[in-house]
């Protein structure tokens, strides 16, 4: 068992409950003879909620036996949030700025800010990575990569 089991059980219970409500309010459940589009999602939600209750009580029973450790350490938070933010930035700007520019900027930020590589090396490596990927995927494999507003 994991020390977070009681918390995750509550989360999954709520997710299950949410699915039950969502499917029963927005979809046709049908009957057992003619199951509707909401039938299986409702079944999934109910199963998840039921199992989450089991996990919760198992967690409560084993509570004293599990190791106490933190979900995050202070040092681990920064790189994780940085990466997630940079990925979101990449997704947001990819269509506007195009593959080459977005990839270069995001790679540069990942290499210098998360991996801790010096700026000059970061610029060189980002250029190489972006160029190599563009050549491989766009030029050699003919996979279409977005050009963006700037047209390159």
């Amino acid at each position: 068992m994991n020390r977070f089991d009681s918390v995750t059980a509550v989360v999954w219970f709520l997710v299950g409950l949410g699915i039950i409500l969502w499917s029963s309010l927005t979809l046709e459940l049908g009957t057992l003879k003619h199951p509707g589009s909401g039938f299986l999602p409702l079944l999934c939600g109910a199963t998840m909620a039921f199992l989450a209750i089991i996990v919760f009580f198992q967690a409560k029973r084993m509570d004293k036996e599990v190791k106490r450790e933190n979900f995050w350490t202070r040092g681990s938070l920064i790189p994780i949030f940085s990466i997630i933010s940079l990925l979101l930035i990449y997704a947001f700007f990819l269509d506007y700025l195009g593959f080459k520019l977005t990839t270069f900027i995001v790679m540069l930020l990942i290499l210098t800010q998360v991996a801790g590589i010096p700026w000059f090396m970061g610029i060189v490596e980002s250029l190489i990575i972006t160029g190599a990927c563009y050549l491989t995927f766009d030029y050699l494999m003919r996979i279409q990569l977005p050009k963006g507003w700037l047209g390159f």
């Binding site: 199992l51 350490t73 990466i83 990575i129 996979i143």
Partner: protein, 504 residues
């Protein structure tokens, strides 16, 4: 004769220059992925899915298959040399393999792993060749109830084998089925849970979910330990003086290899089974039949031969339920299922008749692939060890970028990137809280098929669930599933009775 003609066709297919090149590329990438911890075959195969769109279906399948069994070969190298399993299926190999390496016997350990994998892989292919056509003929008589029961069995076995608790794995499976319902309902055409996002009309894609759960989450997890990550300096790798096992090693190796092969083959066919389970079971059995079980973990050659043979045998055997019944046995096969569907090929009972080039080409490519891997793994051991020396801070930006490109190019849609990020965060939290991704992936892939089969079965029976028990095959599957579901309770009760008796 039918098998011989089929195999001949397969070799014709695989010896076409493009297919041969793809088999080699797959084995090479697979070995690389296997050597590098943090990027498994599931993520690697998903990553290359968009690339495979531009290939002929048979070339694409040969490429992806090569990655899969190549990764299993490569995983053992790092287990033996540096005690870091590149693959989950190679975890057990660390126990005796690393000890052998510490005793200066890294060469024989690597040789035994490679030769064992080769022999097991080859025997499993022969088994697959004979068993698949028989099974696919049997599968023609399967109707919706049989398919529903078989899928229920697959889910329960996979969750039973989960490393953590069974209810947690079942939650994942239920969540996976729910995710598969997002998009248009197949029967009524009604929109379900799309949040008015156009890109979700076709449902949640397999690749973004896999990349998030297995690729991005792994990077996030490794980033936490970037400072604590041990710099891998394999002095052991440099000291490989002799490769070939001694006569005594051979004497111990052959029976262990054959046992591992047989165990792996049958566990590989099992829905929910696969290479990881096979390697653990093979090691446990090998220890049980050994005259010196106490020596296991100290560098016994059987402790390397048996799990390595088992995981490769299982890897090949796992193709059987996919190609004959259209049911993927594990997460890797689920990605395969997705790849076949993208190429317009429906895996299942009719595959051998409708696409003999794919079926026999794949089988022949495995024969060739096994030889290629033997060549790639033994003489190039030094090179693979050097790959391990690449610092993670250089590696992870590349993994992230490949994930981004791989996901975007499937539909040229940034929505898929957002989905990948969401599942990256979910996967990271799941790993921290010990929830497994494999049941979710399998359920996501099978979800649509499961829903159709379940609804059809209920319509056929006027809403009676007894239909799953009134047909013999379906009844057998369903009864086994219920037994597997109840097994933890039975085992716990037995254990409690045993403790009481012992105490009293």
């Amino acid at each position: 004769m039918e098998y011989f003609t089929g195999l001949l066709l397969g070799f014709k297919v695989v010896f076409q220059p493009m297919n041969f090149l793809m088999a080699f590329t797959g084995c090479l990438i697979g070995t690389l992925v296997g050597v590098l911890p943090g990027l498994g075959p599931v993520a690697a195969m998903s990553l290359l899915l968009p690339v495979s769109f531009h290939l002929a279906p048979v070339s694409a399948i040969i490429l992806l298959a090569g990655i899969y069994y190549g990764a299993l070969y490569g995983g053992s190298t790092t287990s033996i040399l540096v005690n870091i399993p590149g693959e989950a299926a190679s975890v057990v190999t660390c126990l005796d393999g690393y000890q052998m390496a510490k005793q200066g016997r890294a060469g024989p350990a690597l040789a035994v792993a490679a030769i064992g994998s080769f022999i097991a892989g080859t025997i499993a292919i022969v088994g697959m060749m004979f068993l698949s056509p028989l099974l696919s003929k049997a599968a023609l008589s399967f109707g919706p109830p049989e398919y529903t029961s078989l899928m229920v069995l697959g889910f329960t076995v996979l969750t039973f084998l989960a490393k953590t608790s069974m209810p947690k794995a079942l939650i994942m499976a239920a969540f996976g089925v729910f995710l598969s319902t997002i998009g248009l309902d197949i029967v009524s055409g009604e929109r379900r849970f799309t949040l008015s996002i156009q890109a979700l009309m076709d449902g949640v894609g397999l690749v973004p979910v896999v990349m998030g759960l297995f690729g991005i989450s792994e990077v996030l997890l490794n980033l936490e330990q970037i400072g604590n990550r041990p710099e891998i300096l394999s002095s052991i790798g440099k000291k490989i003086l002799h490769i070939f096992p001694t006569r005594e090693d051979w004497r111990k190796f052959i029976p262990a290899c054959l046992r591992g092969t047989i165990i792996g083959f049958f566990l590989g066919i099992l829905p929910g089974g696969g290479a990881i389970l096979a390697s653990f079971v093979a090691y446990a059995i090998e220890k049980k039949v050994s005259k010196h079980p106490e020596k296991f973990g100290t560098g016994e050659i059987e402790g390397v031969a048996s799990p390595e043979s088992a995981n490769n045998s299982a890897a090949q055997a796992a193709f059987i339920p996919l190609l004959t019944l259209g049911i993927p046995a594990n997460a890797v096969m689920a990605v395969f299922f997705g790849a076949l569907m993208i190429h317009g090929i429906t895996p299942g009972a009719m595959l051998i008749q409708q696409n003999p080039d794919i079926f026999w080409g794949l089988i022949a490519s495995m024969y060739i692939g096994n030889v290629m891997l033997l060549v790639l793994n033994l003489p190039l051991v030094g090179l693979w060890v050097k790959v391990l020396l690449i610092p993670y801070k250089v590696l992870f930006p590349l993994i992230i970028l490949f994930c981004l490109i791989g996901v975007y190019t499937i539909n040229n849609s940034t929505v898929d990137i957002y989905i990948m990020i969401i599942f990256g965060v979910i996967g990271y939290s799941m790993k921290k809280t010990e929830y497994e991704g494999a049941p979710l992936i399998l359920a996501l892939v099978l979800g649509n098929m499961f829903e159709t089969a379940l609804r059809q079965s209920l319509m056929m029976s006027d809403g009676r669930f007894s239909i799953f028990f009134s047909k013999p095959i379906s009844c057998a599957f369903m009864s086994t599933a219920i037994f597997v579901l109840l097994l933890p309770l039975i085992l716990r009760r037995r254990l409690a009775v045993g403790v009481d008796e012992g105490g009293g």
